[in-house]
Subunit: 235 residues, 2 copies
Amino acid sequence: MPDRLDGRRIPEATVARLPLYYRALNETAERDIETVSSEQLADLAGVNAAKVRKDLSYLGSYGTRGVGYAVEFLLAVISRELGLTQDWPVVIVGIGNLGQALANYGGFGARGFQVSALVDADPAKHGEKVGGLAVDPIESLADLVAMRGIRIGVIATPAAAAQDVTDQLVDAGISSILNFAPAIVSVPEGVSLRKVDLATELQILSYYQAERKSRRRVGKFTPDVQLQATTAKTS
Amino acid sequence: MPDRLDGRRIPEATVARLPLYYRALNETAERDIETVSSEQLADLAGVNAAKVRKDLSYLGSYGTRGVGYAVEFLLAVISRELGLTQDWPVVIVGIGNLGQALANYGGFGARGFQVSALVDADPAKHGEKVGGLAVDPIESLADLVAMRGIRIGVIATPAAAAQDVTDQLVDAGISSILNFAPAIVSVPEGVSLRKVDLATELQILSYYQAERKSRRRVGKFTPDVQLQATTAKTS
DNA sequence: CCGCGCTAGTGCACTTGTTCACAAAGTATT
DNA sequence: AATACTTTGTGAACAAGTGCACTAGCGCGG
């Protein structure tokens, strides 16, 4: 008779931090350390101790008061929770600069993921080997996904192609997508989507950078005359 | 007599969405569309209309009821807010796979940023040209940053080097850092830090992917014997 | 000039996330 | 066995973010 059968819906914010703990714990394990306190873990993960404890408490009561958490045990718990006990095959779509870098990126396979297919729309690239794997035409996406049991797709195409590629991935049966293209794509219910966007990140940094220096507000903003002019209706 | 002189602290969540609006507006402007409603903008940016309106209201009252927002005008407001009216020179540290991809990445300069320096610790890479720019030794970081007025640093090194590089960037006078290395780095007060982490993103996807299939809770977790065994240190 | 239709702006209730602070529960020590 | 010390787990206060639903304001057609 388990307590709280599955009344454990882990908050999104917590899920997003589990990988941090996972990594921190791995590093700790490599140093042959047996137990960590929430405070140590917090330091390693760059958060605060209360948050660590609350986050971990969603997974269950796996700590020992007065001692801390058993590193290996907690690793097992978290990797189970994150679904890292299995290896996830991944397809990368768009083998340009970024796609190639991702395909060659070591840390990819290192943590339970494995680049299992590369596809690109450009026929010139087909057959080319990148990171030991041949580039296939995008038309074969569905077959590759089905045959290799791929569930996760990474989009590294130009922005213009992103939505189209997304649709193809979804049609092919992919249900988790990581989008590197600087474009908003939409997916049907039941498909997870996360995005990584360089330009966005830089612009956010730019905001705070600009804020630090002269951000003197003097009431309403009146745009440059130049820009004001453009506002005039053209039709 | 301006109302709310600078009582406008823009919420973080809003700042993070401004780049989305900015991009959506740019696309809209390219199609020679003069005005957008919050609803249209919401669709383009992948959020909901109420959020758009609330977000934009932090910038001021720049919409027209019954009509919408003037695209060019709003673009000017947002780009001012994001500090995109100037060009930000950027240094990339670590010219491996990812660093090279970033250096060659077009969309970089496209939106107000400009790769102005590349540095790497490996002497073999020094002098090599990547994306039309020579790779310099990391020792010259401070000089480059000072001479080229660089404020933003991008870390594309292996995890092990990340903290060290971060410290050097900070010492060199950088106050905004975008970290691609899979490591937690800490920065002093007054320095902005954002991170982009492939492994983390994939693991989050993995969680939800695993959740969709068999996530049957049956009480407390007892780790696999195998894993339990692995607990023995590998040295 | 009036009224209709449309859309921005916003107060408010609600949800989610964070942090504090303390009781509970363990270890270590004498 | 009792006391001191450490550290988890969590209730509760607080903060941030979201979304509804309504009001205010603008443009346009008659």
